[in-house]
């Protein structure tokens, strides 16, 4: 306890106290109203009922959830269309998050070994790209990957396409869905989707790993090096164990972030591989217009995200306790 903390409350005069209470109450009201009520509304409306041509009505039915998990015509028939979309949400998010973290880890480690000035410069660069809207990023990758410009054209013009055909790799690419009969193609493909998603969260991965890696004691790695350990051994036995938990926490956060990705999916993923986020959009504001069903899908996505967030928080708390 510091002196200030002991004296502080006594020095306070009643009017200031009352002021504080008013502000406090106001903030609670605002926070509850704006941070919780929207989510509450989504939950309530997810039990609602669609009215043909007239929006929707309050109700308490589980039809929307039934439709999500087993299809609208259950029990006559079961469809797993919406579960399939959730599967694609998770699949893209997992692959892209892991890819981003695996490539960001060595980068961040090297960055933290640089001078403070150099670190600040890297951070400016990364924050600027991180804050750049998803629409611009997708635009950029779209130009790079689309069939009439960018890489496929470059491949054809530079003779790489012919070389691929000669060596037989072209057929392998066709098997992977990355080529049409004439040239390589990246749109639409899972490769392009994951690449863009991973790019989107890569700066986040660096920023999230940065605190843990910058606090890593360099003398540990140096000691291991002096004792004759090879760099790879140092990375595996000293650095990785020390950042294991932040690593998992970061992956989880990126995963949750990617669950809601929308633009990249609509541009780069095949319609048969679209995600829950795309379906939510279609139902709430898009062509199908079924707000209660969109809300139900949001709840499912939210539950998935929330579960992983809680897990991540537990991991990060554990890592702080252990440090």
């Amino acid at each position: 306890m510091t002196v200030a903390a002991q004296i502080g409350p006594m020095a306070e005069v009643p009017p200031a106290l009352r002021w504080g209470a008013v502000v406090n109450l106001l903030l609670w009201a605002i926070a509850l109203l704006l941070c919780l009520v929207p989510f509450g509304l989504v939950l309530l409306i997810s039990f609602g009922h669609k009215v043909e041509g007239a929006g929707w009505d309050w109700a308490f039915s589980s039809e929307n959830y039934l439709r999500f998990f087993v299809g609208a015509n259950w029990p006559a028939e079961t469809t797993s269309l919406y579960l399939g979309q959730l599967y694609w949400s998770m699949r893209y998010a997992v692959v892209a998050a892991v890819l981003a973290v695996v490539t960001a880890l060595p980068f961040t480690y090297l960055m933290t070994r640089q001078s403070r000035r150099a670190q600040a410069r890297w951070l400016v660069f990364l924050l600027a790209t991180l804050s750049l809207s998803e629409v611009f990023i997708v635009m950029g990758w779209d130009i790079i990957l689309s069939n009439n410009s960018g890489l496929p054209m470059l491949f054809a013009a530079s003779g790489v396409t012919d070389w691929l055909k000669d060596t037989g790799w072209f057929d392998v690419l066709r098997d992977w869905g990355l080529a049409n009969p004439r040239n390589v193609k990246f749109k639409t493909s899972e490769f392009a989707t994951v690449l863009t998603l991973s790019y989107l969260v890569w700066p986040y991965a660096v920023i999230l790993l940065y605190p843990a890696l910058s606090r890593l004691d360099p003398s540990l790695a140096e000691a291991a090096r002096t004792m004759g350990a090879r760099p790879w051994t140092v990375a595996r036995t000293v650095i990785l164990p020390a950042v294991r938990l932040p690593l998992m926490g970061t992956t989880l956060l990126l995963f949750v972030f990617l669950l809601g990705a929308y633009v990249a999916i609509t541009v780069f993923a095949d319609p048969s591989q679209h995600t829950t986020a795309v379906s939510i959009y279609e139902n709430v504001r898009g062509s199908t217009l079924n707000a209660p069903f969109g809300a139900a899908q949001s709840v499912v996505l939210l539950v998935a995200a929330g579960a992983f967030l809680v897990l991540g928080q537990r991991l990060s708390r554990k890592s702080q306790g252990g440090a």
Binding site: T2, V3, A4, I7, G8, A11, E12, A16, V23, L27, I30, L34, C35, P38, F39, L41, V42, F107, T112, R116, A120, R121, L123, V124, F125, L126, L127, A128, T129, S131, L132, S133, F136, I137, V138, M139, G140, I143, I144, S149, Y199, Y210, P211, S214, R215, P231, V256, L259, G260, Y262, A277, I280, V284, R285, A295, S298, L302, A305, G306, L309
Partner: protein
């Protein structure tokens, strides 16, 4: 050998990160209506269209600026008392309030956007720009909350003790010590919220209900009709603003510390 390899890896990463941005930005120079890379018939005419002559874009730009400035200000004003109470009392109640304020930022924005869409349609604010401002303020509340909290933790305890010994009231201490010392962090939080609000679109999409559009919304809406070089000008403008803002934060604030770097090492 290892050093060379490390530098190569970092350079490669920087190139990949910069690649799509450089391509979009250079597409802004195209003379025609189509995006080409490399740009054909380079001209700066698109900049004039975006900033001055095309009403669609100038209106969208002014909406973006209004929403970003308004929501960042509002977010800082809400974040300050929450962070201050948390730092001062450390009570469970204030921690809960801070946690509550961070929820929208932590969850997938599409869900928050859908919720806010319902919320504002009940309150009658759907499609109005003030609803957009409030929505973004709440969405990005977590950012000034974090930076101000970091700033408050950095306030020199010795100064507080000295002030208390000399009989300063809480108000005087707040004005003369706490506020000046945390100003860089407050400004950083403001700028983080500002830049992210500028670039956000999915929440704004649900809240605006097509009644008004910001620059990102305008681009998002015309995404399916193909790109025009004028959109690329928007990208140039946005990345420029981001770089200026974050450079300013790095220049006048302690960016590595804000990002959670270890204090003891330099």
């Amino acid at each position: 050998m290892g050093r060379v390899f490390g530098h190569l890896f970092m350079a490669l990463a920087a190139i990949v990160v910069a690649l799509p941005i450089v391509i979009v930005c250079s597409a802004a120079l195209n003379g025609g209506r189509t995006m080409f890379f490399p740009p054909q018939d380079p001209t700066l005419a698109r900049f004039g269209e975006f900033f001055f002559s095309e009403p669609v874009w100038t209106r969208a730009l002014s909406n973006s600026v209004i929403v970003a400035l308004g929501s960042a200000t509002l977010a800082v004003l809400m974040a300050w008392p929450i962070a201050y109470a948390l730092w001062k009392t450390g009570s469970r109640q204030s921690a809960m309030l801070a946690g509550l304020g961070s929820i929208p930022f932590a969850l997938p924005p599409i869900v928050f956007g859908v919720g806010l869409g319902f919320f504002w349609s009940f309150l009658g604010g759907l499609g109005s720009i003030w609803a957009g401002i409030i929505s973004h303020a709440v969405l990005f509340l977590a950012l000034p909350l974090v930076t101000i909290s970091i700033g408050l933790q950095a306030v020199d305890r010795a100064h507080l003790d000295a002030a208390a010994t000399m009989g300063a009231t809480e108000g005087v201490t707040f004005r003369t010590i706490i506020l000046p010392q945390t100003l860089p962090y407050t400004i950083s939080g403001f700028f983080f919220a500002l830049v992210l609000s500028f670039n956000e679109f999915i929440v704004m999409f649900f809240v605006s209900a097509s009644a008004f559009s910001t620059v990102t919304l305008q681009i998002f809406n015309s995404l399916r009709n193909g790109y025009t070089p004028t959109m690329a000008v928007a990208a140039v403008a946005f990345i420029t603003v981001s770089i200026i803002v974050f450079s300013a934060v790095a220049r006048w604030g302690d960016l590595p510390r804000l990002m959670g770097a270890d204090q003891s090492r330099n």
